[in-house]
């Protein structure tokens, strides 16, 4: 535990959560007219707060804070800016935060997306409630990534549902009621199964005689994640399964249910297209950009770290699930006529890439998964921003609704093309790096373990399909029609506008970072790689090399 300023709890978690609650309480007490009038200033306050957060994390990235270790050479199990305070002493629950190279890219990504989301949806209606909710969402998401206490992790995990539920409910499309309910219930159900797993894990750990501090005075057990991981590490070093073989498998499955639904993988993915299609642009951007990654992050943080034996045992199933998600998501994309739904299914497909990367149990595969989380976190918000602009201008999401966009709205057409290209994995853009790494890792894994080479068919096939659905939708919306195309009927003859300046700014920034991380992936990859290698050295190599 370090001393000094608690850079995580105060500016990154506390500031957005508390300020959003204060803003909402303030807004709840003024009249409707005043609410309208206050919208722009509240938007500005939210933007400033999000810039403060981005500033803090960027300074963290450049190592400008006191007493922090370099991200890419951190020891496994040590954390920067670690702070903990007693929360509920009798159960050993603490407010305990810290960041390592696994969580930092996700936290930076969240703080990066918050101002972008605010700018990209600058003109959202009901601004005085919308922007505080976006802030609250950001605070809750960061809380998930920085939590080093299982209880706190779960609290923030569930807390993210509430602002998202309202974002979909109040600003969503026609079927928003259904979508928000489905979203909430689906993920909540998965989380309570995970919760039972967490509680069982908590009570299975060896009981301490000396309590106090992180050990609960009533239970003699702890919710502290690093402590639990070190218990697991100790068991592995003795050549044993942490908590015993059968329990480890059961707990692994229970935790994974929570994370796989959030990720989501086929067959648990059906909430995602509904939620995305109905969600407002800002909600979709955060949902696809960060919220999905909570699932993958959770896997790395809990089940993979604590139950590596079980992870190896279920390797085949993880790989199969990842493969099915990858292929199924892509195939379903081919059949979509709704632009946003297509993008949503392409997210499912990309999440499959992450799962495959994890399932390879190779350092390269894991680094690929981590980088995919990051790259998809920049690219997919851009896709959804494009979809939002499309909907905003043409009052329709149908792919055939607008043709010849290149002529009518060149900015939108360019952003769309760029986003689509980034998502299908064009070289020199961020997505390509992750996909390439995943391919290499999968090849390496198949060769090393003598698995059938037919596992490669799926990903190869998907490369073609992905190109097909993206190019096809682009051709239909951007280029088709030539000079004589008419604006869609839904515009009622009004001239076709191009995207607003605020949207242009957001698009350009996202595009710039996609290129940046495509050309110089090592900016983020170094720390991910460092984390992965340390993880493998500490936890997995003893097991994979026949430790048991």
């Amino acid at each position: 535990m370090s001393t000094g300023i608690d850079w995580i709890s105060l500016p990154l978690v506390g500031l957005p959560l508390i300020s959003s609650i204060v803003l909402l309480m303030f807004i709840g007490n003024v009249s409707n007219a005043a609410r309208e009038k206050l919208g722009p200033s509240i938007r500005m306050v939210s933007l400033i707060i999000s810039f403060i957060m981005l500033g803090v994390t960027t300074m963290m990235f450049f190592g400008q804070m006191d007493k922090m270790a370099d991200w890419s050479t951190m020891n496994f199990g040590s954390f920067n800016f670690e702070f903990s305070y007693v929360w509920i002493e009798s159960l050993g629950i603490r407010w305990s935060v810290g960041m390592d190279a696994l969580s930092f890219p996700m936290v930076w990504l969240t703080t990066f997306l918050l101002p972008i989301t605010i700018v990209a949806t600058w003109n959202e209606k009901n601004a005085s409630v919308y922007f505080p909710l976006i802030l609250m969402m950001g605070g809750a998401l960061i809380g998930v990534f920085v939590a080093l206490d299982l209880f706190m992790f779960y609290v923030f995990w569930e807390l993210t549902l509430i602002p998202m539920f309202f974002l979909i409910l109040k600003w969503g499309g026609k079927d928003r009621k259904y979508a928000s309910q489905k979203f909430f219930i689906y993920t909540f159900t998965a989380s309570v199964v995970m919760l039972l797993g967490l509680v069982t894990l908590y009570l299975m750990q060896p009981e301490q005689i000396v309590t106090g501090g992180k050990y609960g005075t009533m239970t003699g057990r702890t919710f502290d994640i690093p402590t639990l991981v070190s218990h697991s590490q100790a068991a592995n070093a003795n050549g044993m399964w942490f908590l015993g073989e059968s329990m480890q498998k059961v707990l692994f499955v229970m935790l994974m249910i929570g994370f796989l639904v959030k990720l989501p993988t086929v067959p648990f993915h059906t909430w995602l297209p509904d939620a995305h299609v109905q969600a407002p642009t800002g909600g979709s951007m955060l949902l696809a950009g960060v919220m999905l990654k909570m699932g993958a992050y959770g896997m790395f943080r809990l089940p993979l770290a604590m139950f590596p034996h079980a992870a190896e045992f279920f390797q085949f199933w993880l790989l199969a699930l990842g493969m099915v998600s990858l292929v199924w998501g892509a195939v379903v994309c081919l059949g979509q006529t709704n632009l946003k739904k297509m993008v949503a299914y392409s997210s499912v497909s990309h999440m499959g890439v992450i799962l495959i990367g994890i399932a390879t149990m190779q350092p390269l595969g894991w680094a690929a998964a981590l980088f995919m989380m990051f790259a998809h976190g920049i690219i997919s918000p851009m896709l959804f921003a494009v979809c939002g602009a499309f909907k905003h201008h043409y009052h329709s999401m149908e792919i055939g609704a607008m043709r010849g966009m290149a002529k009518h709205s060149p900015w939108l057409a360019t952003s769309m093309m760029f986003g689509w290209m980034a998502s299908l994995g064009l070289p020199l853009l961020a997505g390509f790096v992750a996909e390439l790494m995943m391919f290499l890792a999968l090849w390496h894994f198949l060769a090393a373990e003598n698995w059938s080479v037919f596992w490669m068919v799926g990903p190869a096939f998907v490369l073609a399909i992905t190109a097909a659905y993206y190019l096809w939708s682009m051709q239909r919306t951007i280029f088709e029609g030539g000079d004589d195309t008419q604006p869609p009927a839904s515009l009622h003859g009004a001239p076709v506008p191009d995207i607003a300046d605020s949207e242009k700014i957001a698009m350009v920034i996202m595009a710039a970072f996609t290129i940046l991380f495509g050309i110089m992936p090592w900016i983020a990859l170094d720390m991910m790689n460092g984390w992965t290698v340390a993880f493998f050295e500490q936890l997995l190599i003893p097991i994979l090399n026949g430790g048991v």
């Binding site: 002493e89 009798s90 309910q181 219930i185 919760l195 069982t200 009570l203 299975m204 908590l243």
Partner: protein
Amino acid sequence: MTDGIEPFGEGFVTALAPEFVLVIGLFTLMIVPNLGDAKFRIPLTQVRIPWLFGGKRGTLDSDPRLPGIFASVFFVMAFILAVVSFIGGMETKTIASGTNELLKVDEFSRLFELIFYGALALASIASIDRLPATSRKDRSVSGLYNNRRQVDFYILLMTCGLGMSVVALAQDMFLLFIGLELASFSTYVLVAFMKETKEGSEAGMKYFIVGSVASGVGLYGLSLLYLWSGSLQFEELSAHFNATGMDPLPLTALGMLLVGFGFKVSAAPFHFAAPDAYAGAPGPVAGVLATASKAMGIVGLLRILLVVASPEGMDDATTVWLVALAVLSVVTMTWGNLAALGSTNPKRMLAYSSVAHAGYMLAAITAIGALNWEADHADASRNAALAVVTALMFHLVVLVCFKLGAFLVLSLLESENGGHTLESLGGLVKREPFLAVAMFIFMMSLAGVPPLAGFLSKLLVVMGIVKAALLESGSGSITFSEIHWVWYLALIMVINSAISVFYYLRVGLVMFFNEPEEGREGPLPNGTSIRFAIVACVASTIYFGVGAGQLIALCESAANALVGAW
């Protein structure tokens, strides 16, 4: 126990100070609203002595809000006295007549008194300016029931509180039953308080009939117990049970008592009256039924199952009632949740959700029954039992915050004839943003969404059950098949709580999504006191979710008073 305090002996009043406050309150409520300018003429003379009872009353003591204010003050005083006795270092005091223990004041019973008085105080504060609930254009003071009818309401609330605390304090089955009946009869009348409405009289009738049958069955079980052991003292019953517990006679008696208390906690299949009663009763009364009255039933169950048919005395690993109670709990929680899914009346929905919560609590009690009390496991078992009882106590305390709060919001709607259909909640966020947010917080807490109190209480219950199930894993390793089957109760419970999200969320959807019904556009009728009670509920729901450390410690000390002796 010869060192106990004799009834009305030295220290009796101080030991039972909160109860005596209620008794004083009862007399005050009977006397004050009747004070007038009546004079008494001495016979055969013309001398008139001011007699004060009857006659023309002053403006102050005929104010319809007076009884409510008085009752609230007395409830709050009783509550504060109970809190003070906790803070001032709890001393266990036994009230005994000769060698018979009658009442026992310890942390356990005090905490239950806190629950009862807290719930009743909130209900009474909330009722000050809202009776009657039926719609009247005229929402001024003169639109309330006149104060003689109001007095009845608060007197009944007070007797209800007295009965409940007797149940919590009792060390003797007979006293426990007296307290139970005192509280029950008060609630029968309270449920039927809006006798002019169809729902009110129906609710009262159903609740009374089913309740008295359940009480009768319980009483018969009690008489069988007496027949079998010759005593109704808990300690003697317990000793007797350990000796010959497996006889058919005590088992029959136990089953019958389960029926009696099962009705009080509204466990399936004895819950049929509950939805009707909750729907017809005034909102605050329904809230009391769902919280304080349920807590009273749980005390009874704890006494019967854990003290009398005590698990710790059993030679074999399990208790007699283990499987029966497990089945009961699974049926109760599943039935409650499924029925709540289909109900469109929010009060019925809350009633069924209260049934589901009863199922969770029964599951927790079941887990205690699954413990192994052989010598090498006794310490671990005591710890696990402590965890479960702590969780139960915590659950009951925080239930007062959000369950009662939800009923209070509905009760505000009742005052414009709403609250009986989900649609009447429509657009609440536009009419009263604060109430809508409060209701949403209550619903999320009921569903168990962090960081609200309901989440923590559910977590504690699940934790208690899992801890009991994992008892064998002292060494840290256990295979999945070795886990005691009560673990599956925890699984069923979390799945049930996932189902329950659906109907809790629906309330939120209606409030935030639907337009207000026609004729319900404006803000709700005024009611300062009920709004104050709702604010208190919201604040405590959030506070006990975020900063529950002290409350858990309190519950633990209370649980220790029950479990520590094992």
